[in-house]
Amino acid sequence: MKKFLRFLYIFVLLILIILCAIKPPAVETNILKAIIPSETELVDLSGKYSSKVNVLIESDDIENVYAATDLFNQEVDKSDIKSVSADVNKILEVYKKHRGGLLSKNYETLLLSGKFDEVKNQSLQKLYNPLQILVLSPQEDPFFLLTDFLENLGGTSDIITFNDKYYKILNYEFDDNIALSPSQLNKKVEKMVNIQRKLSDNDVKIYLTGAPIHSYFASSRSIIEINIIGIFSILFVCSLCFYYFKTLKILIPMLLSLLAGCIAGYCMTGIFFGNIHILTFVFSTTLIGISADYSLHYFVSKTPDKTPEETINNIIKSLTCGMLTTCSAFLILLFSKTLLLKQIALFTISGLFGVYLFLILFYPILCAKINSNSKKIPQINFKGKKILISGIIILSVIGLWRLNYNDNIKSMYVPSKELVNAEKIFSEVSRAKSKTSFIIVEGKDLEDCLEKEEKISDILNLTEYQAMSRYIPSVQKQKQNKNLIERLYSTEKTDYVTSPQKYPQTPDLVFSEENFPFLNNFIYEKNKTIMLLYDFDSPELIEGIEGVKYFDIQKDVSNIVKTCRQNCSRLFIPVFALLFVILAIIFGVKNSIKIMLPSMLASLFVIGLTGILGIDINLFHILAVFLLIGFGLDYSIFRFNGSKQVNDAVFMSCITSVFSFMLLSLTGFKLISSIGFVLSIGLLTSYILSIFLISKD
């Protein structure tokens, strides 16, 4: 029978691998997609400008700025950088051909209110302005309406002077194929960082800012941290195993069971969801811990007088209970609305089941010849049980009163001082606006979108904004402008133009990608355009306009994270209820309370401790509590159900997990350090409580 089951296990695993190989799941790295997959517009908008690098060149001497700019431009690899080539003469010709309906907002307002003389006065100022360059001659455009229209679109200097220093800003945007590949993007950024280091000296400073730069430095730092943590964890586990079992051979079946579990989890999640979010991998590292727990449980129980089959029979109840309760805890997550939680649940359940079956079916074969001389770990005899438990409860209650939440996703990452400084200087030099929000305008066609944009601009009396309608007014607006210009020509005459002044009868200006390639960035999709608003904070004013959606990315994302955190918190009740029911069926009501108490108290304690230490609770603290329940319950079940030797297995499981998660809690990436903090403190508490609350007697 077991032979058949082994064959079936391998067969199912192979089928999963084949199915996955036919359609390999993509790895999703966009963090927002993990929590807000349905809010595609918000995800798209936030990602729209994330492949751009800003290079800021600073020097006391303007010549050094120019020299460094030329060198940087020469050295940078432009093969994968997006370029929007715009023939400025061609665009200008297009504007000239359609100038009859083009008016700046200022002139439009003046003409609408009948202040024709004021328009004439302003055109005289342009005429006499010594520094003025006119786009059309006074004969062609006596009121310089086109010059005024173009001037009002804005402009910036070639070199910026700030705090007695000269600055030049260069912008590079990577092609989508590079931007979507983290490893390729990091390679490209690394080249830029090398150029930066090469060209920076005492005379010239070069600052790099933008999402790819932060990604590069953060990932470089994370890789170093993770490598160090990985090496220390492996050394610790190996040392402990060698100390206890006097052999490292047990690591082979442990790694094989982990491999089988990971394949099962990866394939199932990939087949079911089509893609796997990278955070799913991070959270599913629990599998490593749990598979190690199961294996340690086996090896500690395996005494020389027992056959492998007998050892399995001895521990099968504990293992099955542990597996069932952990799977149940994750099962509830399958019914949440968050993609990340669903993926974590499926990955962990499938993986755990794979590890469990591997151990039951294959350990008797694989471990038949592994002889370990287990050493008894001395038990701590602590007398102040009641004081300790009371202390944990009191601290939990005090901490829970002091809880603070922080759902601001911005706080998840703390960049280095150098990057913060670069962002600060860049922001000051470029006079970056403190806040940018978006509006997506949907219309029947592009003309409808442009009309809506103009309506929004009028309602909000916008001055600081960017939209396609600023560059290409709607046909409706152009018709209105034509009437105004015609009235201006008939009302006001200019004495500096001798030839007859004729109103320019020109065709309407319409968008074409060929003429205005740079305006493509304002098109979200067919019949949808994007407006960018600066320092705007009154979205209520545009509520009710059909087809208009306002996005304040930071606020919207934080709200979604908050909702996600609240939804996760609410899942604790059904998770504990389900676990209680399962444990009550197996062990009885009284015992199930006993088994659950350590995990429950540890969860409350670790959350309370964040309150006492003044750490703000975030979504990832809450998610880590689910993992804590999974681990902690196993400890209690093993202790409750196992022999005295099992205490050693639980101790070793606990100490290896706590050590690894404690190292993770020291990382610079808050998401990971949050998980590390909850699991290291929580598991230690859960273990200590299980010693006091659960005894074989």
Binding site: S46, Y49, Y66, P130, A211, Q466
Partner: protein, 197 residues
């Protein structure tokens, strides 16, 4: 831990999502990019690699100019029309120029106004001896005259600029004394300065 490394979390826009402040900067740069395209339309800045040796010599011969207040007279000619104006002029070191036109209309043109930046930048480039700026945009002819005076002729290099600006002539000694701007649509603008009197 999966083989991807936690670093991958930071990539592909992940940072932008978790640090919206950065979005502001990115979007602003995008905004400036769009503005720049339009700025090109208005000001026709070109970039062409040129020989730098000669222009370095020219820059060495130009005096370092200090802040100064002057009066100016301007004559604009287009077609048969000649327009005369005048007023006060101020050169502020490292910032640029301010024209206060007093007749026939009253108006003030400052260096900070977006529409005046291009000509202002040329004047700044000359006064700051910023030969890189000049060499990128113009063919430069320099003549050193007796008594410390000099003439500088700037002719745009590429067709985009040539289509709108014919030439700029500048005469000066320790200060700029005369500027003549020959433009395609603007006719000729001849400005003379009297400083320090």
């Amino acid at each position: 831990m999966p083989p991807y490394g936690l670093g991958s979390l930071r990539s592909h826009g992940a940072y932008a999502k978790i640090r919206p402040r950065n979005d502001v900067n990115l979007i602003l740069r995008y905004n400036i990019f769009v503005k720049k395209i339009l700025l090109f339309l208005v000001f026709f800045i070109g970039t062409i690699v040129v020989k730098a040796a000669a222009i370095k010599d020219i820059a060495n011969n130009l005096p370092q100019m200090k802040s100064v207040s002057c009066t100016f007279k301007q004559q604009k000619t287009f077609g048969n029309t000649v327009l005369n104006s005048g007023g006060d002029f101020q050169f502020i070191e490292n910032k640029g120029v301010v024209f206060k036109t007093k007749y026939p209309i009253q108006s003030t043109t400052t260096y900070s106004s977006a529409s005046n930046k291009q000509i202002n930048e040329i004047i700044l480039a000359i006064s700051n001896k910023n030969y890189s700026y000049l060499e990128k945009n113009f063919d430069v002819s320099f003549e050193k005259l007796s008594g410390g005076s000099w003439n500088l002729d700037l002719t745009p290099k590429n067709s985009a600029i040539k289509a709108h600006l014919k030439s700029i002539f500048i005469n000066g000694d320790s200060n700029i004394k005369r500027i003549v701007i020959n433009s395609v649509n603007n006719g000729k603008t001849d400005i003379s300065f009297v400083c320090g009197k």
